[in-house]
Amino acid sequence: MASFLFIRLLRWSVGLMLILFVTYAMMYYGAGDPIRMMFIQGEDFDTEDEAVMRALRAKYGLDEPFLVQFSNYISHLLQGDWGRSIRLQVDRPVLEIVQFRLPISMQLGFAATLIAAVVGVTLGVVAALYHNRWLDRLIITSVLFVTSIPIFVIGPMLLLLLVLILKWIDVPYGWNGLFHIDAALPVAVIAIGPLPGIVRQTRSAMLEVKSQQYITTARAKGVSESRIILRHMLRPVMTPVITTLGLIMIALINGSLFVELIYNIPGFGLLTIEGIRTVDYPIIMAVAVVGTLIIFVSNFLVDMIYPILDPRVRVQ
């Protein structure tokens, strides 16, 4: 077991290093000089000044050749120094920014997953119970239609509907905690994304269970229908759903970018966009490191937990 873990860890460390190398190389060779961008972007064209740019490049170590820059970055990273933002929040330690932003996206992702799961499983079960009847079709098609509208259309439209037409809420702004009214709309919009997947998964799992013999047996024994649904059907349906929920949550943490952009939420997804827009190397690298680590860790956890949930795998 220990050697198995060790090999895994080694493999992932090499992988992470590879990803960081490629990311840095792409930034260095493709995105251009962040200092130059800094003056050209926005309204500051006239402030381009070689003396100024030279001084700034030296300050951030950007005047070094690629390999030196990269190895400097890695050695600093290994010592826990994530660098300082060049442009986004000038000179602020990147770690500080990440520490604030990541939990926001995690909370959003977690809440959205929970809502998507509850709504999705309910709809899936209902659809399966009314298999091939109009309610089934209605659920499946309406869920699909809602998801087929791009999130950046549905996001602003819902916002303007609720704020300006119905006047139920104010324009949500910033981050005031998960339980603040401002978080409701973003969470709901994020939850739309994985909904059809969950509905369909639940529905087909339900359909499979429905035809199993033990259900027929239970029914023959006179067990009440609601009891059959709750005790005998839901449990086997939930297992595969739960295992995919983790993956959905990871996808949501990384993918809440559009919602964060639309609703001004200073989360991790927005940081990705802002980092790229400002060509802020340390920010982009931090996003790559953290984003990759999240997925590594979650893959690892899934691998560890899955045998516990599914005895068949354990036997193998």
Binding site: G15, Y29, G30, A31, L144, F152, I273, I276, T292, F296
Partner: protein, 327 residues
């Protein structure tokens, strides 16, 4: 060595107890029959077919040049001259939508084909060879999946454009062939390749899984025992049997690619104006939606319909190609 005819091995016992023995042709016929019964899937197929035909001939039947501006008419709604109205620069929306259909079709198909080819090759190879090859290939695909997908796509789109354009400029300097000057299509290529790059690992895993499970089946073991080459096993047994899940994944991927392209346009990267793409039309239309909603609604609704059609088609194909689902 083709002694083992695949038709003989497709024999399977269906849920209803009847035995499907016989030609693969029959399997396809059955699938077609089942598919026709699913009206949602047929509707999806019709919409997709219409979409493809329009993508193919649309630019030729477009009433106007999709770039032509008629600034005096800017923002006008539907009229006899312009069925869907005109946009903020007085360009005919119908013509732009038809060109956008071509863009969308190109994105959907190239993205999927590239990722499908890579996925099948890598997944198949990994599944058949097993061992170290399998481990290495799956490690690579894990790594690509481990990077946040959108970050990867955005990075590729923002960083790879320049080196490739410069390469072409250099080629032009050498050859003086004016083909290398026009790098507009690079927008397309970059979007395809970026989307394909994040798409293939999923397909590779799928194929590998199929290969592994089918490889355990008796008839494949038999074929292998009879000395059939790996290429033969792959081509005759594995791929035909993996068709069902693959078709579903591919159709879903096509719809997803169209949506992703639109999302890239929303972020201001990807296909740039004045080239017509549904995503960029949508993004520009969002600016004016309160007063001129048609600018936003037309592309949004179109994307939605095509998207749903792809999903219904995929579902229908899945049900049709998987005999066990026949209930």
């Amino acid at each position: 060595m083709s002694a083992a005819k695949p038709e003989a091995q497709v024999a399977r016992i269906a849920d209803d107890g009847s035995i499907y023995a016989g030609a693969q042709r029959n399997l396809w016929q059955d699938a077609a029959r089942r598919f026709r019964k699913n009206w949602l899937a047929v509707a999806g197929l019709v919409v997709i077919a219409l979409f493809l035909i329009l993508a193919l001939i649309g630019p030729h039947i477009a009433p106007y040049d999709f770039l032509e501006q008629n600034i005096v008419k800017a923002f006008q709604g539907s009229s006899a001259e312009h069925l869907l109205g005109v946009d903020d620069l007085g360009r005919d929306i119908l013509s732009r939508m038809l060109h956008g259909a071509r863009t969308a079709a190109l994105v959907a198909f190239f993205t999927t084909i590239i990722s499908l080819v890579i996925g099948v090759l890598v997944g198949g190879w990994a599944g058949i060879r097993g061992g170290r090859t399998d481990e290495f290939l799956m490690w690579i695909s894990d790594l690509i999946q481990a990077m946040p997908g959108l970050l990867l796509v955005i990075l590729i789109n923002t960083t790879l454009r320049r080196p490739i354009i410069n390469w072409f400029d250099a080629l032009y300097e050498q050859t003086r062939n004016s083909f290398y000057l026009n790098t507009l299509w690079l927008d397309y290529v970059l979007v395809f390749s970026a989307l394909a790059l994040i798409g293939w690992p999923g397909l590779a895993r799928l194929i590998r899984g199929q290969v592994l499970s089918i490889g355990e089946e008796d008839y494949v073991l038999a074929a292998r025992a009879l000395g059939a080459s790996e290429r033969h096993i792959m081509g005759r047994h594995v791929i035909p049997n993996a068709m069902g899940p693959l078709v579903v994944a591919v159709t879903a991927g096509m719809g997803g690619a169209i949506l992703l392209e639109a999302s890239l346009s929303f972020l201001g990267i990807g296909i740039q104006p004045p080239n017509a793409s549904w995503g960029s039309m949508l993004q520009e239309g969002l600016r004016y939606w309160q007063i001129f909603p048609h600018l936003m609604l037309i592309p949004a609704v179109t994307i939605g319909i095509v998207q749903v059609a792809f999903v219904f088609l995929g579902d229908g194909l899945n049900d049709a190609l998987d005999p066990r689902r026949n209930s």
